[in-house]
């Protein structure tokens, strides 16, 4: 009889499991929260066909045809013409900073050549670090140009030769001319892997002390919160730097991702990013009551980080609220830093707009963490 399965024992285990689940509010919250968060993020925020991408226009012709052409691009909904610029240097700057996704250049004599049927050039430069962000827009350009000009060109020599397009559309994919996705994914992975491991490792560090009862011993010593928090972070900074070196080596040697910028600058950015993640991990572990909760918090942070940072889906494809959320996340800025350094060869000045937000995030988290760290056992 003793080997027979017992209904009463089995149901007893199920009931006990439910009772314990009910007691653990955070786990219960996660069971409800994660599906809802995923639904909102996947359902509303993610858009793999990004539209309304910021575009700068260098119009050297100021002609009617140029204007209809720009209007056509606008009507395609892929391009949002934000600014008019006067020089090519400006165009380069805007792309390097990542302020605009595209620069459309209409050369002088565009109208004249067009009317003569000489197929003037229309140059569209794209920031192609993330090929997903620009792919659809660039694919749409040729069609857009043809239809935009078709009406205006009726009866002109250009229209007479339907075999070829009236305009020679030159697409220039800057920073990633072949549109290789691994150029974008591999540096991005650097950020996501660091986010995951750094937050998790430190998240467990403090809760482990609390779970094992060693925290009380630590509190009874004269150790100060800042000493404990920062002291617990440093070893993981080293681990993070080792991870980065391994990943970077693989990126350069196996995936042949170019390294256009300064390695030193990259490591500085990485260190800042690691530090930001670690402070968050430590803060999580001060809030969480056990290791399981710390892991859940990590996951709860990791999910939006991976989805809203521009790693999985183009940042500019998301609705504005999602972009705001993304802007707070350090991974968003770190991805721009890594792509900027490796693919664009950005310098410190160009990187600064994405450096200070990480620093600010870190300071805010340290403030929160010190507030939460309980020096007493209350």
């Amino acid at each position: 009889m003793s080997t027979a399965l017992s209904w009463s024992r089995w149901s007893g285990i199920i009931i006990k499991e439910f009772i314990q689940l009910k007691r653990d509010r955070l786990t219960f919250g996660m069971i409800i929260g994660i599906p809802i968060m995923q639904l909102i993020l996947f359902g509303y925020a993610i858009n793999s066909d990004p539209k309304h991408l910021p575009t700068a226009v260098l119009d050297a012709d100021h002609s009617l045809y140029g204007r209809s052409l720009l209007q056509g691009l606008k009507n395609s909904e892929y391009f949002r013409i934000d600014r008019e610029i006067a020089t090519e240097a400006e165009a380069g700057d805007l792309l390097a900073h990542g302020t605009v996704q595209f620069v459309v250049t209409i050369p002088p004599d565009f109208e004249k050549k067009l009317l003569r049927g000489e197929r003037p050039a229309l140059l569209i430069e794209a920031d192609a670090t993330d090929p997903n962000a620009t792919g659809n827009a660039l694919a749409a350009v040729a069609g857009v140009v043809r239809t935009a000009l078709a009406r205006d060109l009726k009866g002109t020599p250009s229209a007479a030769s339907p075999a070829s397009d009236p305009v020679d559309v030159r697409l220039h994919r800057s920073y990633n001319p072949e549109g290789i996705t691994s150029y974008n994914i591999v540096p991005g992975l650097l950020g996501t892997i660091l986010t995951m491991t750094m937050i998790l490792m430190t998240g467990l560090a403090m809760t482990r002390e609390r779970e094992r009862g060693t925290f009380e011993n630590l509190l009874a010593t004269p150790a100060r919160p800042l000493e404990v928090m920062t002291g617990k972070i440093v070893p993981y900074i080293l681990i993070g730097l080792i991870q980065v070196t391994l990943l970077l080596g693989a990126a350069l040697l196996v995936f042949r991702v170019p390294m256009m910028g300064s390695v030193l600058l990259l490591y500085l950015s990485v260190s800042l990013f690691i530090a930001a993640n670690l402070t968050l991990g430590i803060t999580f572990s001060s809030i969480a009551r056990n290791q399981l909760q710390a892991m859940q918090m990590t996951f709860f942070f990791f999910l939006p980080s991976i989805l809203l940072s521009g790693f999985m889906f183009p940042f500019r494809g998301m609705p504005e609220w999602a972009q705001w959320v993304g802007t707070v996340l350090p991974l968003t800025h770190f991805l721009r830093l890594v792509r900027g350094i490796m693919l664009k060869g950005n310098t410190f000045v160009e990187l600064w707009p994405n450096i200070w937000p990480i620093g600010l995030f870190m300071l805010a988290v340290i403030g929160l963490g010190l507030g939460v760290y309980r020096k007493t056992l209350d």
Binding site: T221, P222, T376
Partner: protein, 311 residues
Amino acid sequence: MSGMDRDLAINVTGLNKYFGPKHVVCDLSLQVKHGEIFGFLGPNGSGKTTSIRLLCGLLKPDSGSGTCLGYDIIRETSSIKREVGYMTQRFSLWEDLTISENLEFIARMYGMKDRRPLIDQALEKLGLTSRRDQLAGALSGGWKQRLSLAACMLHKPKLLLLDEPTAGVDPKARRDFWEEIHQLAADGITVLVSTHYMDEAERCHRLAYLAYGHLLVSGTSQEVVDSQALAGYEVTGPDLAQYARTLHGLPGVDQITAFGTTLHVVGRHAAELERTAASKRAEGPHEWKQIRPGLEDIFIGLMETAKDNYT
């Protein structure tokens, strides 16, 4: 520092601590002299651990004030932490560090210089020199407790707060432990120790009994026993369990405790109990022998009274 504070290692008055709606420590006033071994007794959940944590700055009292080693227990907790050794109820050193790594870490936390010789000394005294590279988690209960004591003694504290240090430790190790406590007290270190064991209570210079957050009585064990003025009888004879049932509710009988082959019958009204004893003795066949109630009888009695007063 007033003159009185100089003689007292611990001097607190009116400490209160709430956990949510629960009043865990009620108006605790406590004076412990330098070099004294002070015992903290009381049932589980009586507020012993909380009181100890209030004394060493791990918890902040909701009201009340006082000093520990002359430092204010609210404002000067970091000074207190530096001069107090606190041994937690549960083993709280790092099980995944070796014995010597644990001591090294604690020494660093107290900012000690010349750690090596001090740690070697501590290991030598513990008799753990040959096992210094063993993980602390691999030690047996008795050794863990000795290691904990060594760790909280490392920075040469003036006051030791020991929270049930001998729980789950065998009698031989307990005896050795108490020998060491007395050694330390002889060296001028003040020791406040909580315990459930009556034999340990009797080894303290003075003791206090807590129940439901209230300090019910304090003094030397003699004073504590005298203060309660209990009368007691030791009853022997056949079928004691059955016999005990017949005694319940008889005049003068407040508590009946079974001790193996004897019953302790204790009461607050000596005369009434004496009459009951006389009539029972006449009935036979049980023998009633008058005894002086011990600490255990006193504490069980106190707990019963406290239950009526505070719950």
